[in-house]
């Protein structure tokens, strides 16, 4: 399943939008002066009458998208995650999520992926914010294939969706026959000793960590949760019941994202050790992407270490 091929999600997304535009005349695309970064420029070239560049004014763009949705369009709003999530937080909440406007927010440059632009442009706490908005669907694809496959499903789904995309090339995990199902976790490897739960493009690193554990004679389960909300509770609870220890891994603060979502379900229904791997409670830094991931909590070694700690806790609790 794993390959060395690397593709950026934003590329797959940009191409996927053009296909959506061909399939559905009501799909419109909005951008805020970053269409060359978000790759919505492909859609703009193909469908100029359905592409709207709002300039550097994200709040207005979000509000206008809500109006479009209320009059029959399916708007895809595009900007960097920190802008879609924080700059326009009230517009997201009041004009889109509360009225259930059928707007799809593509929050690109998620996590540390805008690495060289530094903490102002990185988004390490976006998932915490959007996950707490009532009834908002939150999707974080694991690779370019899943990003592309998710698009028509999200367009078909009636309701607001917040989609996190990564700027940089990341490992292609899935093959072309992969099918995206909203709300369903994907099991990449069955296992019985513990479960590694991954969210987003760190899945390549999680699979590497799983290989290390296998070499140590362990049998880890690996699942990927791309629909962070609504969470696939059954997949999480099966992991808790059948493997007895969980490690969550996400390119996000350890506060409020996947680790929190999994811990909430487990503590409510089937308590077991959960170790959260992610960015510590800090802003990151400027630098090469892979090096930033290593430095801020997401090295393969750190995932392996967390797995060993989770196993130790599991034994201690027996």
């Amino acid at each position: 399943m794993k390959t060395q091929k690397m593709i950026a999600q934003r590329e797959a997304y940009g191409a996927g939008l053009v296909e959506l535009g061909k399939a559905n005349p009501n799909v419109a695309v909005l951008d805020a002066d970053v269409s060359s970064s978000t790759r919505t420029l492909y859609f703009a070239q193909e469908f100029p009458e359905r592409f709207f560049n709002f300039g550097i004014a994200e709040q207005n763009m979000m509000g206008a998208a809500a109006g479009m949705a209320k009059c029959g369009l399916i708007p895809f709003v595009n900007t960097f995650s920190f802008l879609a999530t924080y700059r326009a937080a009230d517009q997201l909440r009041t004009s889109i999520v509360y009225p259930k406007a059928n707007v799809k927010i593509a929050a690109t440059y998620g996590g540390l992926s805008d690495s060289f632009d530094g903490p102002t442009h990185q988004s390490v706490a976006d998932l915490a914010m959007v996950r707490a908005l009532p009834d908002l669907t939150v999707v974080v694809p694991a690779d370019a294939v899943e990003a592309a496959k998710a698009l028509p499903v999200l367009a078909e789904f009636n309701g607001p969706v917040w989609l996190r995309l990564s700027r940089n090339p990341s490992p292609v995990i899935y093959s072309d026959d992969f099918e995206f199902t909203l709300g369903k976790a994907t099991v990449l490897k069955e296992g019985t000793d513990l479960t590694l739960i991954s969210c987003g493009t760190v899945l390549g690193r999680v699979l590497e960590a799983a290989d290390v554990l296998v070499q140590e004679g362990l049998n880890p389960r690996v699942i990927s949760i791309s629909t962070l909300k609504p969470l696939d509770r059954e997949a999480v609870l099966s992991a808790a019941r059948e493997t007895g220890a969980i490690v969550t891994v996400e390119e996000h603060s350890i506060i409020g994202g996947l680790g929190a979502a999994v811990s909430e379900v487990v503590s409510d229904e089937y308590p077991c050790p959960v170790k959260r791997v992610g960015i510590p409670d800090t802003f990151a830094d400027t630098g090469p992407y892979e090096e930033l991931l290593d430095k801020f909590g997401l090295s393969v070694g750190n995932i392996v270490k967390a797995a060993r700690e989770a196993l130790a806790l599991k034994k201690g609790s027996c």
Binding site: F52, M68, K70
Partner: protein, 283 residues
Amino acid sequence: MGRIDEQRTKELEQIANELRIAVVKSVYNAGSGHLGGSLSAADIMTALYFDKMRIDPAQPDWDGRDRFVLSKGHAGPILYATLARRGYFPMEELSTLRKLGSRLSGHPACFKTPGVDMTSGSLGHGLSAGLGMRLAGRVRGKAFRVFVLLGDGELQEGQVWEAAMAAAHFKVDNLVAIVDYNRVQLDGTVDEIMEVAPLADKWRSFGWQVLTMDGHDMGDILVTLDEAIAQSQGGPVVVIADTVKGKGVSFMEGKSAWHGRCPTEDEYRQALAELGEQGGAGA
């Protein structure tokens, strides 16, 4: 501009007065709510919903209908009274304003109340929504009109000017914004809190056509809205409506204290008496 039928004008003035009475009753009954900005907008709302807008209360979701966005969402009581009087839901339902389980939320919610086209409450959002509605109309080949009612204090929100800039840039047609220029906001008068004047110059410099009217002179409102609708074929139009906060109840007029206060029983009786409602407090 065209002549306005006197009889029709009188009918509309009568309806506006009924709406003011309904607003005072519903807010008193609720125990809280925003009277000042509801009363200042009563005549404008009457002209829109009873004369200008192409709507069908029997089909609130009709795709081709004109849309209205109450950007100053705290004036929900006047929107609810207007919709009820226009036939979207029973007048009796106005007594459920702000009650638990009611369809009439503290601020308008489009999925709760028949006839409410857009949720509002957080100020500064409505013009963006109206702009998006018209862009959707353009993409889908539909010529419905969109009316957006803004407060004057609300113009202090930066998003309003983002939307103003974009509406002119995209050359949207059939978009008419109306500013309820009552010169009073929660903490005091607009000029002492954060001056928004000169309004006409501001909108004009953002690329809008600007009209002005007396927001309490029904004849003037009808003529000016006709002109606004005609001019909006060529780009966005704003109508600056000169109004009085709390209009119709003497002791509320021009007072910031009545932005969000509920009347006492005595005040309530006096307000209804001034509006010519017989029977006093039988809300």
